[in-house]
């Protein structure tokens, strides 16, 4: 069984939901990003999303756009990303690592080479925000040969027909986008509507679903944990990592993790 499935099973038995945390390799600099990855992993992240910098991140809001830009200005290349993953994998053998990357770098480097490097480094799969189910087959087939999972996204605008297609093509879980829009912190999220959407999804698809985009506080995490299998937090964590304050980052992750527990307290 793969790490993603194992993680959801383990959390299910413990009556917990998954805390998925996103960070960008090379932001604010390579060393700090490694420290930040370690910090979030040591303090409660159940699944890690590893950002691969790209020149044109159309699905991202201002905070993560800056992270892409700075990482590229820092000279971050694919080999830095894979090196970072390798280093983290040594210390965290069981946590799923998902690479969050736009499609062009994968395509240009070559799907075969990219998947090979990804597998070697210890990645479990990719999330590719600009690759919808209709276009995912060539990459998915290559990934399958390397035992990598392709996680597809669903959105509030996905029709029932589209949800079926997404469910069929995605591996292990679905990343449900909370609102129409880009990544970034939001004060209010439409929980009622979101809950209905996720319930609707459950009738169609039995694969675990995590909810992301706009999620930044423990209260958000707690609300979403009532109906989803996990919660993704990105921009607010990226912002903290840029301040290079690991203590603050650790506290934030602990607090968010508490939001995924039924009792609200870590046992």
């Amino acid at each position: 069984m793969n790490r993603i499935k194992e993680t959801f099973n383990r959390l299910y038995l413990k009556k917990q939901k998954a805390l998925v945390v996103y960070l960008m390799v090379g932001y604010p600099d390579y060393e700090t990003s490694l420290k930040a990855f370690n910090t979030v992993l040591e303090n409660g992240a159940d699944i890690l999303e590893i950002g691969f910098p790209f020149s044109d991140p159309v699905a991202d809001g201002p905070t993560i756009q800056i992270a892409h830009e700075v990482a590229l200005n820092n000279g971050i290349k694919s080999h830095h990303v894979f090196e970072a993953v390798k280093t983290l994998r040594r210390d965290f053998p069981h946590i799923p690592f998902l690479l969050m990357t736009y499609y062009n770098p994968v395509f240009r480097i070559g799907q075969e080479s990219f998947c090979c490097l990804a597998k070697e480094s210890g990645l479990d799969g990719f999330i590719v925000p600009d690759l919808p189910p209709e276009e995912c087959v060539p990459l998915k087939e290559t990934m399958k040969n390397y035992g990598l999972s392709l996680i597809l996204l669903a959105s509030p605008t996905s029709t029932e027909k589209r949800l079926r297609l997404i469910c069929e093509k995605t591996d292990d879980m679905v990343y449900f986008v909370s609102v129409t829009g880009t990544t970034g912190e939001r004060k209010d999220l439409p929980f009622k509507e979101l809950k209905d959407k996720v319930h609707h999804y459950r009738k169609i698809c039995s694969k675990p679903v995590v909810v992301g985009f706009g999620v930044s506080t423990k209260a958000h995490v707690r609300e979403i944990s009532c109906f989803a299998d996990g919660v993704v937090v990105g921009s607010s964590i990226v912002k903290l990592s840029s301040q290079k304050n690991m203590k603050k980052l650790a506290d934030k992750v602990k607090e968010l993790k508490e939001g995924t527990l039924k009792s609200g307290v870590l046992s």
């Binding site: 020149s55 044109d56 830009e69 770098p105 240009r108 600009d130 209709e134 605008t157 589209r162 129409t180």
Partner: protein, 393 residues
């Protein structure tokens, strides 16, 4: 028939966008087929193009330029005479009319040189829709006049300060807006780029250029031209001219990309000539990018060609060998700009000047007895202050 069911022109095109936009694209494709092909819609659009935009545009025999070149006859398809000064209005009237019938009340657009932004703002003013235009900061600086024009027409211009601050980043920002406001908003893409069905829709609204050209040249010359030539940034004016001739295998199709300071300097915008296949802005096509798929900064004297990608139908025409793609440098474009002004009393847009200068070469190669048609896609008024500063330095 291209594009195919999935929006591909051979191996190029497709639909590479966040899931949130997928339904909107499906919906747009469906509505376009219903409304766009409807005779009433067609009639309404034809009337607007005739009485408001100024179609048909003349096909002008450029005698002086022909004499100067000393070879084949050169004809100019005068899209520069259209309302707002370029071919862009063909597409914006079509798309804004379509959006209104789809019940969308808000329009967004990106712009490089500002021509598409002005044409979108114009169509929105005419048809009563709210309009937001994204423009890169660098482009806003080189095209101040168009910025004021858009505001005068009631559009809100949002200056984009991310990335390279040009057209590419304006498209990124427009896509971010669309993904956020997709329920109420239609995105009027300005060229034959983006996810399916945009390359098809924009082509369909621009193909009137080639259809008229065909009729007009047959009337005056009794035969089809030997060569069609047009500048290519995203490629909408070129596709508009080429499309009705694709099956006419004896007509050579030549696209002219922007070679900027020279192809070997790396400072250019010739994605078909110097780029690699990749995925950006929702489509699989040619892009200027590094070995790791990062999009690299482009350069062209003309903001309208300053884009690191190209429409998928052009990628397909190149791959199949049906069209040829060459390039003209900034310096050559400026020469074409001055040449057309002096010989014909027509000041072309810097974009179109790329095609003009190459048409002279092609006319010479072709020799007497040949016929070349150049798409004069826009007029140069917008470029005056930019050219003054270039000629002074």
């Amino acid at each position: 028939m291209f594009p195919d069911r999935l929006g591909y022109f051979g191996d190029f095109g497709g639909r590479f966008v966040p899931e949130t936009l997928m339904y909107a694209l499906e919906e747009l494709e469906k509505k376009y087929k219903e409304i766009g092909q409807n005779p009433n819609f067609q009639k309404q659009l034809r009337e607007l193009l005739r009485t408001y935009a100024g179609r048909p545009t003349p096909l002008y025999f450029a005698l002086n330029l022909t004499k100067y070149a000393g070879g084949a006859k050169i004809y100019l398809k005068r899209e520069d005479l259209l309302h707002t000064g370029a071919h862009k209005i063909n597409n914006t009237l079509g798309q804004v009319l379509l959006a209104r019938q789809m019940g969308k009340r808000r329009i967004i657009a990106e712009t490089g040189a500002g021509q598409h932004g002005v044409a979108t703002a114009t169509a929105c003013a005419l048809l009563g829709l709210k309009c937001v235009v994204y423009m890169g900061e660098e482009d806003a600086n080189r095209q101040r006049l168009n910025l004021f024009r858009m505001e005068l027409l009631g559009a809100e211009v949002r200056i984009v300060k991310s990335g390279s601050r040009t057209l590419k980043d304006a498209i990124n920002e427009a896509l971010r807006d669309w993904v956020t406001n997709v329920k109420t908003t239609h995105y009027v893409i300005g060229s034959v780029v983006g996810p399916h069905p945009f390359p098809m829709i924009v082509r369909d609204f621009q193909k009137v250029i080639g259809e008229e050209t065909k009729d007009q040249i047959l009337k005056v010359e009794g035969r089809l031209p030997d060569v069609l030539i047009a500048c290519v940034g995203g490629g909408s004016n070129a596709i508009g001219l080429f499309y009705p001739f694709i099956e006419e295998k004896n007509v050579r199709l030549i696209g002219v990309e922007a070679a900027g300071l020279g192809l070997d300097t790396g400072k250019h915008a010739a994605s078909l000539t110097g780029g690699y296949v990749g995925i950006l802005h929702g489509m699989k096509s040619y892009f200027l990018q590094d070995d790791e798929g990062q999009i690299i900064p482009t350069h062209s004297v003309s903001a309208g060609l300053d884009y690191p990608g190209v429409g998928p139908e052009h990628a397909w025409l190149k791959e199949t060998g049906r069209a040829e793609y060459i390039s003209a440098t900034d310096e050559e474009a400026l020469e074409g700009f001055k040449l057309l002004a002096k010989t014909e009393g027509i000041i072309p847009a810097l974009e179109s000047a790329h095609a003009v200068i190459k048409a002279v070469e092609v006319a010479r190669e072709l020799g007497k007895g040949g016929i070349v048609v150049v798409n004069l896609s826009g007029r140069g008024d917008k470029d005056m202050s930019h050219v003054i500063s270039l000629l002074e330095t």
